[in-house]
Symmetry: none
Subunit: 209 residues, 4 copies
Amino acid sequence: MEDSRETKQKLIESAKVEFMEKGYMKASLRTICKNAGVTTGAMYFFFNDKNDLFAGVVGGPLTELRTVIESHMLAEIKEMDHYTPGQQYDMQEDMKAATDVVKTLFKYKDEYELLITRSQGSSFENIIDDMADMLNSHYRDMFWTMKGYKSAKQMTKEDKFIVHWMAHDQVDIFVHLLTHCKNEKEALKQLKGMFSYIIGGWFSVINNT
Amino acid sequence: MEDSRETKQKLIESAKVEFMEKGYMKASLRTICKNAGVTTGAMYFFFNDKNDLFAGVVGGPLTELRTVIESHMLAEIKEMDHYTPGQQYDMQEDMKAATDVVKTLFKYKDEYELLITRSQGSSFENIIDDMADMLNSHYRDMFWTMKGYKSAKQMTKEDKFIVHWMAHDQVDIFVHLLTHCKNEKEALKQLKGMFSYIIGGWFSVINNT
Amino acid sequence: MEDSRETKQKLIESAKVEFMEKGYMKASLRTICKNAGVTTGAMYFFFNDKNDLFAGVVGGPLTELRTVIESHMLAEIKEMDHYTPGQQYDMQEDMKAATDVVKTLFKYKDEYELLITRSQGSSFENIIDDMADMLNSHYRDMFWTMKGYKSAKQMTKEDKFIVHWMAHDQVDIFVHLLTHCKNEKEALKQLKGMFSYIIGGWFSVINNT
Amino acid sequence: MEDSRETKQKLIESAKVEFMEKGYMKASLRTICKNAGVTTGAMYFFFNDKNDLFAGVVGGPLTELRTVIESHMLAEIKEMDHYTPGQQYDMQEDMKAATDVVKTLFKYKDEYELLITRSQGSSFENIIDDMADMLNSHYRDMFWTMKGYKSAKQMTKEDKFIVHWMAHDQVDIFVHLLTHCKNEKEALKQLKGMFSYIIGGWFSVINNT
DNA sequence: CATGAATGAGGTTTCATTCAT
DNA sequence: GATGAATGAAACCTCATTCAT
């Protein structure tokens, strides 16, 4: 059992290297197995196919990230219940959430970069859109509440569009931090500026439309 | 001569279809040629290789887009010369530029989507970053001017980072409009909201840091 | 394991036939594999590429030949130590060496003919020159010793040129025997005459210059 | 007419360059035509096929060489009529012939090197053997005369074999001079040594068998 | 004389995957 | 758990040659 664990682990590490270097599509299973010191057949014992191997590399970190995000979204939803229109926005809570996300991102930097920039061709190729969609419904609720609507039904098509964009942009900010900062520390330093930007945008949208 | 034009055109159209369906990497030259009713050899008479064929599809529109953007950047640079700090920002000019860009984008919607979402593996795979870089230096100048700095040299590392992000985001907005609106008219309708967002963000950054 | 050996062997034999018929360059891997009753993919399991397959055919025999030659060169070097100028040349030893070389050549006649006459385009295309170079330094030592020089440094440019030629010619003699005699027996019969020729030439050069 | 001459000449020169660089087989007609500034079709007006183009490059020089050799062979044949066994060999005449050959070789050095080292795949690939065969019958006559035989019929199989070899070697000497000397002058300087070698060999064979 | 388009067959190589052992 | 052989399809690309114009 120990041995098999080790083999699987070696495969995952070798796969990570190859996927990062060549991207999902151009990566060669042969090369991965050779570098892991394992035969192709062995790989097919542990993984169903190329995509499953990719999932073996990025699956864990992805789940962890989802957990972090979801837990914060739940927290915000609770807070939203006490919101009264016109109330001063409290950045504090959101910053804490974002900080947690950034920390998670840099905990498995390689894997997240893989997901974001090198997953084309795999089942994860739409991961960015998926994350944005995940945030979308949450942002919708924030939007109509802050806008003073009675319910989501009052939202216009334009409202929905801009909210969808903002969900996307939130994700893009994290992507940008991940791909343009060399470590967590630096990313956290930039986070405040990014937040200032996104919140400025958010309120500009709330007040102007 | 008539015939040859036609053959080349058929190849380009067949290539466009295949590239859009499968993406650059997975697209098959064989399939492209077969659907164009032409042998592979013929294709290699007109194009050097797969990448050149891709360029044959997207090259023209890309050049046109670059021209539009550059002409507007020159216009803004001139305007910047008369800028005095504290002066009210005039969205008018920028909206006109953005409107032109959106119009161009929807003029060759297929080709730009190809470039943005399906060019991985080709020499155009970094097109988004290239466009962002193109805007970056321009945005730097706007930034330090509006910030009241004497020159670009006063910009901190954080300033540069956030400006780089905003250049990226500007590009992403256009990408979002292109990929989420079904036609020019709809995109132009959403443009104002997007602009409100980005300008809100921009001023928030200018004033807070 | 038995099976795989067999497959590889069949490939090598099929390759030999094709290479002999068409030469390295014009030989088709498709044809080789088809005649071996194997898919191209299988071939690439055993060999890295076309050149490696060619090496699979000629590599063994080539190594064997090199071993034979080198062992004899060592023997001659030892003998040379006791040489005194003017001493009668003893053909005996050299004939024995040459006999061994001829025997080796006819042991794998096909493979050596392949190497010599059909390897253009492969990594073995300069094999004749390589062999000549191998003999060259050895012949230089023989030359200056027999000439009565104190060291190799006394050799003129002309000396070096003619020695280089004689090294080449030695190789050519073996090539000629291989390509113009149908079997070992016949080649050995001609060997004496060839030797008479080369030794006549050798001494003529030693005495006349 | 002037123009067409020029076009043909440009093609020949471009072909020479390409053939020298890549060898007959790997040379590309496309490349040749492109570098000549001419279309493929035009080439096929002047030449029947790839081989004919190669002939266009080397044909002239080859004819010239054949003429030189044949004229000298005729001269030697006449001289041979007055030969009496035991008579001192007069190197003079042969040296003059060889000198002429060397001069011719260096007159079109490129073309002859092409023929000798880069013609594999063309109809000239056996040129060396052809030249040797050309000399062979001539050498046979010299051999039996000097040996004191009454006619060629007295020659043994071994006699014929060694004569064939010497004809080959004669050719190889010229090849060696051509490929190892950088110009005519240097080649002529080495010629005497080479001659000493070959004549030493020749007489050694005549006297020993 | 020369163009330029097109053919069609062929080239070597790579790939993810399977399966008997 | 793992091996190693084998599949079979497809990949991109190059070639000498032809022919209507």
